[in-house]
Symmetry: C2
Subunit: 577 residues, 2 copies
């Protein structure tokens, strides 16, 4: 035990922050603690007048840092005999793009009395969409520019991203905008805080955040030019000087833990703090990403992550939302794809089927939130259990999983969900199964697109709540994609990945690739494709692609007349088999 | 009161028979009585091993005749001062095609001890689909024949129809088939029974039944030839001789009420009995059908009926399931179109939304059939109430109403339902509204097709449960079609229409056209199109037609890429209006 070493990973999510202390020999999570933000609604500052607004108060970040790390330490020390002195490095991941307007000392403007309580001076949470008009403008201007700055982020600049939010701030609150000496991503601000130097001119900026959300690319020497920004809006004149030129991968050490935070957290002063990154990207590393492995993080949406050596990937993969050198594993191109709704679709359907409980019972019962909560809790389980008894193809249904648009490969938020094949005999569990299948078809489209560009998908490792909780769904994913679905051993791959980078920055590992074989792992359960099911799904997938291309592209020329008929035939076959 | 005259209409439905005594001056329904069949499940003999089987025991027809007529008479005499002597004629309508195998005396084989309890010897109810393979064969053979015998029944011979059932009987029960001296439609058997002569060689056969379900047409001299029938199957050799050559419109008198049944029913011997017809066709007459009026009978499915003078309609209207001279109003071509599911789609959705009540409650509650029944009763009301608050277009949804295939104008049972435009925010009442709109779009397609052939739709008169009970739906129909929706005054247009034909056969009226202005009428409520809503629906209808043609026809060449986007735009406009 004497030579045991540990690292700390801190994972800032949408509603809470998690600290995790990992054993650097085994990846064992010896202490983990979650702190829920105390402000707003589950940590999110909302505005009744604008559903697009979602902010966070950076006070929650600071309070959560102390609470989560101390909590994890108590557990690690009491349960596993880990002591704080053996922690040698810290890594941080956060949501993003979540920029914070700061003053010239790097203090969030939200901390100024002048802007107290003003959401515009807080952190602009990733899912804030107030900048949707600004993002349209930026996209249009980028397309007119040579080079097109959206080239490596899928061709459409999102309202969720860095410059959309900054421009929206400039448009709606010139006072806050004018007071901002810089804008710092949440992940960068946390590492700066830990090393005790938040001067925005010297903060080390994350390659992951810069490359995926701020159009940073070495090809054009960093961020988009001031000339470009001014062409988008004269209000952005002078913005370049407030931002940064370089960005850094997460193996880089920002500095040593400052005395103040060492004392607050009960850690050794000077231990390494590595450059931050986004949660999904560090999560991919924590799940063991390497060339050939597709990491599929399955939650409300999906993130489908791969890395490829630069010499193997020469082109921009069409329709992939991000392709950034070093955004996950330093030295490799990080490929970020994903489906804009997965678990969200199932949650939507859960709410459809429990609607009756809330609306069709006698008032003394329907007013009972117990019944509603119970129905909410039971719905997906009951649907999954009933659907498990169905054979592939038996539903006669086919769906397009576009309830929240399509992120990859169509990069089009203005697409919507579709269900086809409905009959008077269609049952709720059949619809649920079709929704699960649709998300699996969507996942397969992504894999095929990446492979078209010479990046081989040799294995799929899943992580996230759905991967752990729903064997029914996982089997369908295996059957549809024709690939074994492996499941990450850790349920906390983001924080685990962050801890690996902390250990790399501390010099314990030369590279994360050294940490991964020790610290990442798989569960024993692997979902293996069933050959008979796969045949049926190959047929359904061809129909899915037909609908996908018909509704999602301009150049579809086929005829859809046979789609419903073929589904009925597949259904008959399934029922007779 | 001395010269008051009345007629009796007898309406045999799927689960019950209704007798109605109508005042011939006013159409007032002075006595009406419903008798529910006592055999099988709600009057239908089923078979657990074959969901397609649906038969009726003709004993129910006989018992129901006596019970319903006597019941109506008691009411008419006690409440309205009508006396049985003042009833001068009887008309009968039934479901169809509902053929009964009979012996050479016209006695149903089900009454023979030899075949007692054998469903094959009973009446083959309209919705029996056991002959689906036989119907495919008949369709194929008809298309090879010159003339194509399906020419006036939409190009596809249905499993619900006369010859499909007879051939299926020949295939599965040669003994019953061999014992059958003839096959008599339910409506024809009832009138034969009433006049006391069921000899199948002389029974007057209904033009309506013959023309719509048995490919009877004057163009080829009656029924399909024996040569054709034998080409379908040698088992049908000799069938022609067992059937008939002529068919008759319902203004024709079959004969006088026989002494036996006059006594049983308490009516005068010798009063006129008119030739029978199907319920929807007599219902259209009862609702006041005349050239220019579309009668829309809205129930589980819809029947959309028109009549046109032969000199105004020269062609077979493409995709219309039936076009038969004299099937409704003698001397006019009866046009029968319809949607294969309307109320059935809403009932399906009702069961979707109440699923949670049955599946997601604690077992002590979910086992309570009270709660489930209550949810069933409340669902459509609650959905309608919530949907009433939505603006047209606001849902962003579009559906194809093909849950049970498409009867008119695609004549294709192998089409299925579709919903498009679903998002994470889509609510059940929005889906319900989209389903209502889809059926309204389907109704509009039928109107447009009929008009393309020069038959002007000058007014729409609705009847049936939906028309009377759901103002929300009726307003959408008005807004979608751009036509006022009138509602038939009588809720019993079938029996009312039958009584009119009884009066015509009695000579009280020369033609039903004389009876209709006196006896048919409208409710005061008329649903008038809202011009603003109509504009939105015109836009949605164009999208509906695009989907309709893309999935329903072979020759669609357009592109569907804009459909989801346009729906989103319509939605935004609706929300901002």
């Amino acid at each position: 035990m004497a030579d045991k070493r540990y690292a700390l990973g801190i994972d800032y999510g949408t509603n809470s922050v998690r600290a995790l202390i990992a054993d650097l020999d085994t990846g064992e999570e010896v202490g983990t603690y979650v702190h829920n933000y105390s402000r707003g609604v589950d940590g999110i500052i909302l505005d009744d007048r604008d559903v697009n607004l979602a902010r966070q108060d950076p006070h929650d970040y600071i309070e959560g840092l102390e609470a989560s790390v101390k909590g994890a330490l108590v557990l690690a020390e009491s349960v596993s005999g880990c002591s704080a002195e053996k922690i040698i490095g810290i890594g941080v991941d956060t949501t993003g793009s979540t920029p914070i307007p700061v003053d010239s000392n790097g203090v969030p403007l939200a901390f100024h009395d002048e802007f107290k309580g003003n959401p515009n001076a807080m952190a602009w949470l990733w899912k804030d969409h107030t900048g949707h008009e600004e993002s349209d403008l930026i996209t249009r201007k980028a397309h007119e520019h040579d080079p097109d700055y959206t080239k490596y982020c899928g061709g459409i600049y999102s309202s969720e991203w860095f410059f959309s939010k900054i421009l929206h701030l400039a448009n709606v609150d010139p006072k806050v905008y004018g007071a901002a000496a810089s804008f710092v991503e949440h992940c960068d601000w946390m590492t700066a805080l830990l090393v005790g130097d938040t001067n925005p001119r010297t903060i080390l900026r994350s390659r992951c955040a810069a490359g995926h959300k701020a159009m940073w690319n070495a090809e054009w020497g960093g961020l988009p030019s001031q000339e470009f920004l001014s062409s988008v809006s004269p209000k952005l004149d002078g913005l370049s000087a407030k931002l940064y030129t370089d960005s850094h991968t997460s193996d880089v050490k920002v500095g040593g833990l400052c005395a103040k935070w060492a004392e607050k957290l009960g850690l050794r002063e000077g231990i390494a703090v590595s450059v931050g990154a986004f949660d999904a990207h560090m999560g991919a590393v924590g799940a063991g990403i390497k060339p050939g492995s597709l990491i599929k993080i399955m939650g409300t949406s999906s993130c489908d992550m791969m890395v490829a050596p630069p010499e193997e990937l020469h082109a921009q993969i069409k329709g992939i939302c991000g392709q950034v050198d070093g955004s996950m594993v330093p030295g490799m191109i990080g490929i970020e794809a994903g489906q804009s709704a997965v678990g969200d679709i199932f949650a939507w359907y859960r709410d459809q089927v429990r609607w009756g409980v809330e609306n069709l019972l006698p008032s003394d019962l329907s007013d009972s939130s117990d019944l509603s909560d119970r129905a909410k809790g039971a719905a997906l389980q009951v649907l999954s259990a009933k659907a498990s008894a169905l054979k592939p193809g038996q539903t006669g249904l086919l769906a397009l999983d576009w309830w929240n648009g399509n992120r990859t490969i169509l990069v089009d938020p203005n697409l919507t969900g579709l269900i086809l094949g409905l009959t008077l005999g269609t049952k709720p569990e059949e619809i649920f199964m079709a929704l699960v299948e649709a998300t699996a078809f969507g996942a397969k489209v992504i894999m095929e697109r990446i492979q078209e560009y010479g990046v081989a998908v040799k294995e799929v490792i899943t992580c996230g709540g759905i991967a752990e909780k729903n064997p029914f769904l996982m089997q369908i994913y295996a059957d549809v994609t024709g690939r074994p679905m492996k499941v990450s051993r850790s349920a906390q791959t983001c924080a685990l990945g962050a801890s690996m980078f902390g250990a790399v920055a501390a010099g314990h590992f030369k590279r994360v690739e050294e940490a991964q074989p020790l610290m990442s792992g798989l569960k024993d359960t692997v979902y293996t494709p069933n050959p008979a099911n796969r045949q049926v799904y190959d047929r359904l997938y061809a129909l899915y692609r037909k609908l996908h291309d018909a509704f999602g592209t301009h150049d579809f020329t086929g005829n859809l007349h046979g789609v419903m008929k073929e589904l009925l035939e597949v259904k008959r076959n399934a029922l007779n088999s």
